[in-house]
Every structure is written in structure tokens, then in C-alpha cells.
């Protein structure tokens, strides 16, 4: 598996990307917040100083005198340059951070400045009429606040923001370091979590691989049952178990079929070889051919049964099913088997009431014939077989009761298994291949019906076929 296709890698990449975005955004937000609050603090300080200086300057009275005496250059000269000591201390250039202030006259010429004020500070533009509050601006590394008096003088206070910029830079370095640490921790933790979470998947893949290599008994056996993957593992384990059983059954079936075919084959081969090993009398040749023929017919019956079984195994269509009367089918089958019952001196009793079911007439006839042949075979001369058909609300029911030796309870569960023979002393040459009942059950199940058996040793056997009306 290429790393780019690995689920773990994909989860890790998405997880990493998401983590990067979150960490970056929160870093930026933290930095911005810090920067804004610093700036706000500086602005507050600047405005305080603007207000203090403004209070200390009797600009208003000077403006009033100017109004009264007419415009004169002397107005500005009368502006007080000396601030009270407390106010002046606020602008001490030795302090850190150092504040400064500059005052411009209405004509734009400087009228006063503090000792630490940098040179070349451009006079602020007069704001639009009506705005009388203090205004902030950033000029290079300086942050400044200015205010225009009603007559038009301008007072500006400012300071360098270098200490804050340096602190912010340091702060951002801290944030980046922290972000990298969080990212690393998150990626590592994510890797660990995905590894842990996907561990059952690896176990599942490994088990599936072992099974595909032929170790059918392999299971995932995930100890953690509650998680989704644990559930999946449990479901898969159950599926694997079913598959193994089906596979074992199939293997057994194939082995049994091969075994059943091998015996008549042996008979044919050994008889043919004997025939070729020298001159034989006509009588012995006849005997050899006869044995070959018997064996070949047996193989023919067996292959027919196998084909029949395969046909019913494969068919799933229910389209060609039609309503048919069970009583009619049973009556027809009985006529077909009449010679066999006469030969074996078995009496047949029929209690047939019309019972309509839905299905393939051929398939249902096959069931009846198989069960009847089976009953005839197991019923001793002088015995009887009773066939009944009846209907209940949902089913058409066919019952066949023989007076044979019965079947021991231990054999009943396996009776419908393929190649199963209840009586081991019965030779394969006289009995069938052990497929008749298996075929009957397959057909019945194909019709969503069932076959059940009840038997008492020494008294006989009752087989019941239930087929749905619809």
C-alpha cells in the first residue's frame, strides 16, 4: 500500500492541516489582540497628556483676547511656554518611554515644543469641521495624538512605540514557539490515536490475507467489542465462520461425490482389465460386461442426481412457479411407482384431499417420487404406505407414512444431509447414493417449504412436506 493511499496517512494529513489552520488563526488572533490593546493603552496615555497640556495652556483666554483686539502675531507669543512642573515631568525626555509635545499656531508655525520632541514632525491637517475630539495617528515608529483648539492651534503629543514593537516581536516569537509545540504534540498524538483506532483494521486485513492464503480457520478475535471496528470484526468473524462451514461442507460433498463415483469406476476398470487379460468363455465375458453395465448405470444415476442437485442449488428464479394441486401430483406419482409397489407387495393407502400450493410441478413431483421410492425401499413385503394430502390456511401438506423399520433418533438430524445413509449395513449397490432426501429438501426449500421427519424404531417413519399456498 502506498503511503498516500493509507487511511492512516490521509487522516494524519487532514488532521495536520486542520491543526495548522487552527493554531495559525489563534496565533494571529492572540497577536492582534495584544497589539490592539497595547495601542489602545498608548492612545489613552497620549490623550491624557494632550488633555493635561491643554489644561495648562490658557489658549482659550488668549483666543478671547485676540477676538477682542484683532488678529495680531503677539497672540501666539503670549502662549505660555512654561508648564507646571508636574506636567513638564510627563514629557521628561529621560523617561522611558519618552513623551513629547508640539504646539502649532493657526498659521502652521510651531509655537512650542517639549525638549524631547523629534524634528521634522509635520503639522497635522485640520480635521473636517465639527470634529473637535483628539485624533490618533501613526507616523513611522511614532504614535501621536493631536487636537485643534477652537481658534485653530494644534496641540500634538506623541511617543515612540519601539518598546512595544520589540515586546510584540518577542510575544510573536513566543506564540510561534507555542504553536509549533502544539502542532508537534497534536500530530504525534493524532498519529498515536489513529494507530490505535485503526489497529483492528490491520488485524482484519491480516486475517483476511491469511484466509485468502487458505487458513480458513483464522479469526480476527478483536478483544475490543464495543467500538465500531470491534463490531465489524465480530461480524466478519461470524461471516468467516459461516464461509468456513460452507467451504467444509462443499469439500466434504465433493469428496463424497468423488468417493461415490470411484467405486463404480473401480468396478468398470477391474472388470475391463480382467476381460483384457486373456481369453474368457462367452459366459464369463457376459458376466464381466454385465458388471460393467451395472456400474455404469449406477454412475449414471449418481451423476443425474448430482446434476439435479446442482440445478436446484443454482436456481433462484420463482417466475415459473404456478399454482398446482398437490393431490393430483401425488396421484400421478403413485401411478408411476405402482409397478414397484406391486413387485414389493406393499399396500398403498391414499387419503388425498385437494391442496393447492404455488410452485414448480416438476420439482414437487420429484419430492413425492423421492419420498415414495424411499418408503418403498424401506418397507418390508406385506407392509403398507399411507399418502395424505391436506391444506391448512397457509400450507399444502403432504404426508407419507411407512411401516418400515424406522430410523434411530441419532440419525434423524443428518437424514437430509447429502450422501448420508442411516443404515451403514446397507450396501451402496442396493441403496441409492444418499442424495434423494437431500434433493427433496433442496427443492422444498427452494419453494420456501420444509420437510420434517418423525420416526419410531420398529414402527415406521412419517415424512411431512409443507409447501406454502402463496
Amino acid at each position: 500500500m502506498k503511503p498516500s493511499h493509507s487511511l492512516r496517512w490521509r487522516i494524519q494529513v487532514w488532521h495536520g492541516l486542520l491543526l495548522c489552520v487552527v493554531v495559525t488563526l489563534s496565533g494571529i488572533a492572540a497577536y492582534q489582540h495584544q497589539r490592539t490593546s497595547e495601542l489602545r493603552r498608548i492612545d489613552r496615555e497620549l490623550r491624557e497628556r494632550v488633555a493635561v497640556v491643554l489644561d495648562s495652556m490658557p489658549i482659550i483666554s488668549a483666543w478671547a483676547r485676540q477676538e477682542r483686539e484683532g488678529p495680531s502675531a503677539a497672540v501666539a507669543d503670549r502662549l505660555p511656554l512654561a508648564l507646571p512642573a508636574v506636567t513638564a515631568a510627563l514629557f521628561d525626555p529621560q523617561r522611558n518611554p519618552a513623551f513629547y509635545f508640539i504646539v502649532w499656531r493657526r498659521d502652521g508655525s510651531e509655537s512650542a515644543r517639549s525638549a524631547g520632541a523629534p524634528s521634522g514632525v509635520p503639522a497635522p491637517e485640520h480635521p473636517a469641521a465639527g470634529e473637535l475630539g483628539a485624533v490618533d495617528r501613526t507616523r513611522g515608529v511614532f504614535r501621536e495624538a493631536f487636537i485643534f483648539t477652537p481658534p485653530g492651534e494644534c496641540l500634538l503629543a506623541g511617543r515612540s512605540t519601539e518598546p512595544e514593537t520589540a515586546a510584540l516581536r518577542e510575544y510573536s516569537h513566543g506564540i510561534i514557539t507555542l504553536a509549533l509545540a502544539v502542532l508537534g504534540l497534536g500530530l504525534g498524538g493524532g498519529w498515536w490515536i489513529t494507530t490505535r483506532a485503526l489497529k483492528p483494521l490491520r488485524a482484519i486485513a491480516a486475517t483476511a490475507e491469511r484466509i485468502s492464503e487458505g487458513q480458513l480457520s483464522s479469526r480476527i478475535s478483536e478483544p475490543e467489542k464495543d467500538s465500531e471496528l470491534g463490531e465489524l470484526a465480530a461480524v466478519l468473524d461470524a461471516t468467516f465462520a459461516k464461509l468456513e462451514t460452507a467451504f467444509a461442507q462443499q469439500t466434504q460433498f465433493t469428496a463424497d461425490a468423488a468417493h461415490e463415483l470411484c467405486t463404480p469406476l473401480s468396478i468398470i476398470i477391474s472388470h475391463a482389465q480382467r476381460g483384457l487379460r486373456g481369453e474368457r468363455s462367452a459366459e464369463e465375458n457376459h458376466e464381466l460386461f454385465d458388471a460393467c453395465l451395472r456400474a455404469a448405470k449406477r454412475m449414471h444415476r449418481l451423476t443425474q442426481s448430482l446434476l439435479e442437485l446442482a440445478k436446484h442449488d443454482a436456481s433462484t428464479d420463482s417466475q415459473q412457479q404456478a399454482p398446482c394441486d398437490l393431490a393430483t401430483l401425488v396421484a400421478e406419482s403413485v401411478e408411476q411407482m405402482r409397478p414397484a409397489t406391486t413387485e414389493k407387495k406393499v399396500t398403498l393407502y391414499l387419503h388425498l384431499t385437494p391442496a393447492t400450493c404455488h410452485g414448480h410441478a416438476d420439482g414437487i413431483t420429484q419430492i413425492v417420487l423421492n419420498l415414495l421410492a424411499n418408503a418403498i425401499e424401506h418397507t418390508p413385503a406385506g407392509g403398507s404406505i399411507t399418502l395424505q394430502t391436506q391444506a391448512d390456511t397457509a400450507h399444502a401438506i403432504f404426508t407419507i407414512i411407512d411401516t418400515g423399520p424406522g430410523i434411530a433418533a441419532e440419525h434423524l438430524p443428518h437424514l437430509f444431509d447429502r450422501f448420508y445413509r442411516a443404515d451403514p449395513s446397507r450396501s451402496r449397490s442396493t441403496g441409492g447414493a444418499g442424495l434423494g432426501l437431500a434433493i427433496s429438501r433442496t427443492i422444498a426449500e427452494e419453494h420456501s417449504g420444509s420437510i420434517t421427519v418423525e420416526s419410531t424404531l420398529g414402527q415406521g417413519t412419517t415424512m411431512t412436506v409443507r409447501l406454502p399456498v402463496n
Binding site: 468423488a258 458388471a291 449397490s429
Partner: protein, 216 residues
Amino acid sequence: MRILVVEDEPDLLRILARTLREEGYAVDEAADGEDGLFKAEGVAYDAIILDVMLPVMDGWEMLRRLRQTKRTPVLMLTARIKTADRVRGLDAGADDYLPKPYDTDELLARLRALIRRTGSVATTSMSIADVSIDFAARKVTRGGSELPLTLREYTLLEYLAQHRGRLVSRTELYEHLYDESSDTLSNLLDVIVSNLRKKIGHELITTRRGHGYCIE
């Protein structure tokens, strides 16, 4: 050589017995495991051909019980050809394993090998004075020319040759050369021995009156 064949298929049992008899073996037949075990325990067979799928008692069970008292060579014959089945058969005490459908020639060759392996003579041919016996081809030559022996004569000579140097009792000969259905008249052996002596020379087989025969 006396062989027991245990096989539940009548056709197969019949053809096996016939073929083996034609090869000069004395053959007893059993159609199920119980009968087979009863016969195998009662008679000293030179080999048993045993089918696995048998009614009443299967081949494995019969073999297991037989092995508690006897170690007669057993050739398992079965349609179960899976390795696991073969291993199981051999582990249960079978000496050889032949899957069905088998080739008659292979079956006969394996049977000869089995008897040779467990018998006292391991070679496939033997020379006694100017007589040489080829056990595989079942031919006896004297001075380079083939002797026309009957099947009974040959099997008697073969048995004595394979137990060369040992006194073989008349009872033992009857047990190994005749099957259960044979009509064994007491002087039948004497007739065969005398006919055999005419063909291979009188001094080869010595008679210990009242005890049996021996090839020195």
C-alpha cells in the same frame, strides 16, 4: 499364499477374488468389517486387502482391533484419496495404501511387494541347485529351460522356497495355499508334491514324515 479380501461391493469383491485366484493365491472373502475381523483373527493370512468404507464396522476400526493381536500385512483399498486419509490409514497400522479406482497390475505388484517385505525372503528371485524361481514373473526354470508348473505346484514351491531351511507343516501349507471354500482332501498335497518333484527333481524337497516338507 492366502489372502483375505474385505470389500462390501459384491461386484468388486467377486472380481478381486477371481483375479487373485488366477494369480495362484488362495482367497477368502468378507463383505463387512465384522466378518473380516473374525476371519483375520482366526486364520494366518499372508496379506489382507481391506476397503475402508465398510458396513457394520469400517476398515479403520477393523484394522485397529486386528492390530491388537496380529500384524498381518494389510493393503488398504479405498476411494478416500486425501492425504489426511492416507496418513490416517497408514498410522492405524496399514502397510500400504492404494486409492480406488486402482489398476489391477499395480494392485498385484503391491501385494507381491507387501508379502515379500514381511516374509523371510526379500529377493524377487531365488536359485536352488539348478532350479531358479522368478517370484515376480512366477516362472520356474531348470537348467535354462522353463518348467510348465500348474498354479498349485508353483504356489507350493514358492511357499516352501520363501521359507527355505524351515520345516513347513502340512497344516501350515493347507492354511496358506487353500481358501475356506476349497475342498481339501488330505492326500491332495502329496499328489501335488509328487508331481512337483517329477518336474524339478526329487532331491530338492525333502519329506519329514508326519511333520511336513522342507527345502534345504
